[in-house]
């Protein structure tokens, strides 16, 4: 398992955690993607955004769906908590492309790995100026599994 320095944590509720896994499984073997918005520290809305690339190794959020979601987040005064996507065949760690294209330094980048189909893994990262640090992901107060590969 590839590691990065742990700095901080990200809290999710079970329902959201499960929704991310379900979304990742829904278009297997293709990558899925989406956004989580928060308000005053609580999850406000989960946006599933179509992957315009519909690829097993790449995602590119559908520009129009992303615009609508981002505008809603902005208009409601919410924060962009997280940007997530799935890795269907590799571990939950940012790829070189993920780092190169990380244009939202304020968001946590969540990766849902289905590498082990029976035991999905979600890990969270801050990617700022090419530097990766990891958030410990907690689900209803308990640390989420990080996988063993």
């Amino acid at each position: 398992m590839t590691r990065a320095q742990i700095e901080g944590r990200l809290d999710l509720d079970t329902e959201t955690y499960q929704a991310l896994v379900d979304h990742a499984r829904s278009d297997f073997p293709f990558e899925v993607c989406g956004l989580l918005a928060a308000h005053e520290g609580r999850l406000a809305k989960h946006f599933e955004i179509p992957n315009a690339a519909r690829s097993m190794t790449y995602y590119n959020m559908d520009p129009k769906a992303m615009l609508h979601a981002m505008n809603e987040i902005d208009d409601q005064g919410w924060d962009l908590l997280a940007i997530y996507h799935s890795h269907t065949h590799t571990e939950a760690f940012p790829s070189a492309t993920d780092v190169e294209l990380a244009f939202y330094p304020d968001a946590v980048y969540l990766i849902v790995s289905l590498q082990d189909a029976e035991s999905p893994v979600i890990r969270g990262f801050d990617i700022v100026d090419g530097r990766i640090t990891e958030r410990a992901v907690y689900v209803d107060g308990s640390q989420a599994p990080v996988g063993n590969r």
Partner: protein
């Protein structure tokens, strides 16, 4: 003539933190020049050395991605709403 421009977080360092600014121009290229005059750094954030929109910057007029309109030559009119969003993509 004023065009409302929605600025993403990553570019608000150029706009004193403002999420909405206004500018003028009859085309997107002119608007970007005007924005850069008011908020230095905006041009380089949006346009590459070859004078094309950065590949991973999406610009929309109202709801439409300018890549499907006329790119930097997209005509603008008073009251148009322009949104700038870096792509969300990866591997």
């Amino acid at each position: 003539m004023a065009i409302e421009v929605r600025v993403p977080t990553i570019l608000r360092k150029h706009t004193d933190g403002e999420r909405m600014v206004s500018g003028d121009g009859q085309t997107l290229a002119q608007l970007i020049e005007d924005l850069d005059a008011r908020h230095p750094g905006m041009r380089d954030a949006l346009v590459d050395a070859e004078g094309q929109l950065h590949r991973f910057i999406n610009v929309y007029v109202d709801d439409e991605d300018v890549r499907f309109l006329g790119g930097l030559h997209t005509p603008l009119a008073d009251g148009d709403k322009v949104s700038i969003l870096p792509a969300v993509a990866g591997g």
